[in-house]
């Protein structure tokens, strides 16, 4: 076999799933490394770092997203089973859920509806319309569920993915100073509210601050995934038609 021209090798790699699957894992590892080096600051989010690195790489190599996704879909596929797996931590916290059942249920409903209605309302007030506005609706929900909800209601799942991550970072950064400012001392209330509003990234932050807050944040995230999946398809299209029709 004669050695191939580098250009030919590149042509092969560009169309093979192997390259982009590897690139995805490498980019995420670099993002995670940066996150740990920065002392786990929520602003240095590993997903955001990985997305930025890969976006630059695609631009530099002139690779269309569809080609990239052919490799990355193996990672993307695992979102479904991972969503199902969220039932396990929810079940593990059943005792905690029973101990504060009514406050949790009420706070879940309030936080979930507020997140959805204010996101769409403020977006509409700032002139957002249609698909972009619908993509905002599930922004507080954990990403695997948010993508499904976005698709169901007619949003753009890829846009939703990034909005979800930015929401998580926002929640993780503002929650502690905000709640200290209002002198909220109940860790259960703090955790649950952050989990509902800022899903996994907020939950990770809550665990850094307080163990109880972290457990309640995890419950808030899991329950809000269920609740938003149920109410967003009914509420979001109606709200968008009402506010930005």
């Amino acid at each position: 076999m004669t050695p191939a021209d580098p250009a030919e090798i590149w042509t092969y790699l560009r169309q093979d799933p192997l390259l982009w699957l590897t690139a995805t894992l490498v980019a995420y590892s670099l993002g995670d490394l940066a996150f740990r080096r920065a002392g786990r600051k929520p602003l240095v989010n590993p997903v955001l770092v990985a997305v930025a690195l890969l976006a630059v790489l695609l631009r530099l190599t002139g690779t269309p997203y569809q080609n990239y996704f052919e490799g990355a879909q193996f990672v993307h596929f695992m979102l479904g089973p991972a969503t199902v797996a969220l039932a396990v931590p929810l079940y593990a916290n059943l005792r905690l859920i029973r101990s504060a059942f009514w406050p949790m249920l009420a706070a879940l409903a309030a936080g979930s509806v507020t997140a959805l209605v204010t996101a769409v309302g403020i977006g509409a007030a700032f002139g957002l319309r249609g698909e972009t506005l619908l993509s905002l609706a599930p922004k507080s929900v954990t990403a695997p569920v948010a993508l499904g909800v976005s698709e169901t209601i007619g949003g753009a799942p890829n846009l939703t993915a990034v909005l979800v991550i930015i929401t998580g970072i926002t929640g993780a950064v503002v929650a502690t100073p905000l709640l200290n400012l209002f002198r909220i001392r109940d860790w259960r209330a703090r955790g649950l509210a952050v989990g509902v509003a800022a899903h996994g990234i907020g939950t990770a932050r809550a665990f850094q601050v307080n163990e109880t807050a972290g457990a309640f944040a995890g419950i808030g995230m899991g329950l809000n995934a269920l609740l938003t999946a149920l109410i967003a398809p009914l509420l979001a299209p109606w709200l968008v038609a009402l506010l930005a029709g």
């Binding site: 980019a27 479904g80 396990v88 406050p103 409903a109 905000l178 109940d186 209330a189 995934a225």
Partner: protein, 116 residues
Amino acid sequence: MIVNLVVLLACQLVGEVAARGLGLPVPGPVIGMALLFAALILRPKLAERIAPTTSGLLSHLSLLFVPAGVGVVGHLDTLGQHGVALIAALLLSTIAAIMAGVYVFLAVARLTGAPE
């Protein structure tokens, strides 16, 4: 390990079929999550069996959003054009949702006397 993966995939599969077959607006994997939750309540032993697989999967959960996140390259003009509106909506809405959740929790905890 394999059996655990089968449990997860089977829940998702039933969820997807139910969502499509019954025309439910809920994503299939979310129905799968509810099914697994119900299964865990009915058979508590399943939790111990499946936990190593699920915690492995969930500890790398954020990696799984990367492929979808990279899709933002197709929406860069939306982000550029509506960046201020999107950031304002995300910031204000996140603050509003946190405050609503916290105060409703505290109010209902006081009403029902749920001990801290």
